[in-house]
Amino acid sequence: MREVAIVAFGQSDHRRDTAEISEVEMLMPVLHQVLDAVGLRAGEIDFTCSGSCDYLAGRAFSFTMALDGVGAWPPISESHVEMDGAWALYEAWTRLLTGEAETALVYSYGKSSPGDLREVLTRQLDPYYVAPLWPDSVSLAALQAQALLDADDTGDGVADERALAGVAARSRTAAEDNPHAQLAGSPPPEALLDEPYLVRPLRRHDCPPVGDGAAAVVLAAGDTARRLCRRPAWIRGMDHRTEAHSLGVRDLTRSPSSRLAAERAGAFEAPVDLAELHAPFTSQELILRRELRLGEDVRVNPSGGALAANPIMAAGLIRLGEAAAAIHRGAADRALAHATSGPCLQQNLVAVLEGDAS
């Protein structure tokens, strides 16, 4: 397999509302940031791929306007997925594997502030049996959390509300070191448990912030990557898998698709020292830790994860970017990055990134 690496990563500051700027105005500085980091212009990039979703802002073809921020002239080789940017990165990675491209620009963005996200996300459910009931995304995650609490066994320890609060407190405390985070800082877990439920068994701290944001990465192959980046984050493996759509046919306490994707990505061939998990809800981190076999010695979400900033369509790409950035700066040698999509972890992607021995 051809050597391909993430050589640059950038993201916006994630905020609850960015009404003063359009999508392209939010995205463009992030594109400039990653292109400047590698000293390339958009026209020098061989392939560009983005991820976004029309439903967030309620506008068809919103990605066509975002393209204005790239400067696609002369015309560029370009594609778009209606998915989180992590899957755009996957598409770009396969393009580099064919040898047709040496470099790729990947970006994604999401503005949740124009709509009511919990309501908007109901539109991605089975349109015949489920969407007519308008079950919101927090309620679905709560069903999953309750199933986990009932099972009361994540393999590594007890899954109780105290454990969920522990995930929240740890994530948001870590986010104090992340200048882009939307939420940072947390009372201790015991104090969090005094708060009321939002949708029992989830409290507000168990849920991700709703907000706007954008992210971008540059990929490069082989010696090009070495030239563009002092310590490239090599993609040793990447895979993604899907589960059945209906919650009622799944074991919500498990994530077999994450497990399978991790196996295919080679995640279990050697220990990782850092993991960036796209677990928007605290309960989902517990599920993913077990499926991805992450022990206590692995630093999980030092960025704060999706509990600190969860711009829909970009949050998965940000996990890959954060893991790569940790390798770039020598804070990790072998990292796992994960992205998810769909209700209750329906679709999952896992990448394994490594830095060269220093």
């Binding site: 400039h32 124009p114 709509g115 539109r123 439920y197 059945a244 009622g248």
Partner: protein
């Protein structure tokens, strides 16, 4: 050079609403028609599992499924979540529990609402039954919700033909989403100026082209446009069509001319209607000026200025 001011943020409601017409196919048709008739159907897979609600394709094997069975309207909660603040469109208006319910005779669970006095009255494993809606039409909402139940197990699934008189073949699924639209910095600047009947384009600092309306970025250079340039008000028709059919929601008498107009000083054309001239006399190169209505945000239309037509070479790059 006029540096662009930073205006206050423009915002407006944006409603995306449509009554989607969904055809069902045989399995979903049988299930939803069954609900109308107080009958709960499932589907049996090739390896003997009973899926309720019945899906058209096996989530494990991808086989097409059609072997319908009837199951009981009673079942067991497999997981739940207490929803203290019901939202628009949800099954109950008072606080309720979302539940996954495995109906007696089924191997999978169905998502719906459970009417219960409070979270302390709900637990995984509790027994529930369907409360039917008073008026049923063949939709998932024919189940009003579930309610607690302490009767006997409903037993095994039994075969069912799936045949009903007057089956429903489709549903109408109204969907309304409310958004707040905000056009961003560049468009806000443009719209503010337009209120004074002044049209501002923005010049790209790199290629020097003037964009009207400005979109925040020069699309060919990928950099922000900030320098404001007043353009127009006059311009040239670069190309056009004659519209002979009424567009929905538009109160314009046909035929009329829809034209691309390059405002003087702009480097690309915008689109507008031409008036004040018989439609069949409009031509490429026609010089025009805006006509404003009392309260319009945009010119109502453009009319001829009476100047000589522009030479093709002066606008051929702006068709």
């Amino acid at each position: 050079m006029t540096p662009a001011p930073t205006p206050e943020v423009l915002k407006a409601p944006l409603v995306v609403e449509f009554p989607f017409t969904r055809s069902l196919g045989p399995v979903q048709s049988a299930f939803l028609t069954g609900l109308r008739e107080h009958t709960v159907l499932g589907v049996r897979t090739t390896d003997g599992r009973v899926l309720v609600p019945p899906v058209e394709y096996d989530p494990v094997t991808a086989d097409e499924l059609a072997d319908l069975v009837e199951v009981a309207p009673t079942g067991t909660v497999t997981t739940w979540a207490w929803n203290p603040a019901p939202r628009r469109g949800q099954p109950l208006r008072t606080p309720f529990a979302w539940v996954l319910v495995r109906l007696d005779g089924a191997d999978t669970a169905l998502l719906h609402a459970l009417d219960a006095p409070g979270p302390d009255a709900v637990r995984t494993g509790m027994r529930v039954r369907i409360r039917w809606a008073a008026e049923r039409e063949g939709a998932i909402t024919d189940i009003a919700c579930f309610e607690p139940y302490d009767g006997a197990d409903g037993g095994e699934a039994v075969p069912h033909t799936g045949t009903f008189t007057d089956p429903v073949s489709g549903i109408v699924a109204p969907a309304r989403l409310d958004y707040t639209y905000a056009p961003g910095r560049a468009q806000s600047r443009y719209l503010r100026a337009l209120a004074d009947r002044t049209t501002y384009g923005e010049r790209c600092p790199s290629c020097r082209k003037v964009y009207v309306p400005p979109r925040g970025a020069c699309p060919t250079c990928g950099v922000a446009t900030e320098e404001q340039v007043e353009v127009g008000p006059r311009g040239t028709v670069t190309t056009f069509c004659i519209v002979n059919i009424k567009a929905r929601n538009l109160d314009i008498e046909v035929p009329y001319v829809y034209a691309h107009i390059a405002l003087d000083g702009a480097d690309l054309a915008l689109h507008a209607r031409i008036g004040g001239i018989p439609y069949d006399e409009v031509r490429m190169g026609l010089r025009v000026e805006p006509v404003w209505s009392e309260d319009g945000r945009y010119p109502d239309h453009y009319r001829p200025t009476g100047e000589p037509d522009a030479d093709y070479d002066t606008y051929k790059e702006m068709l």
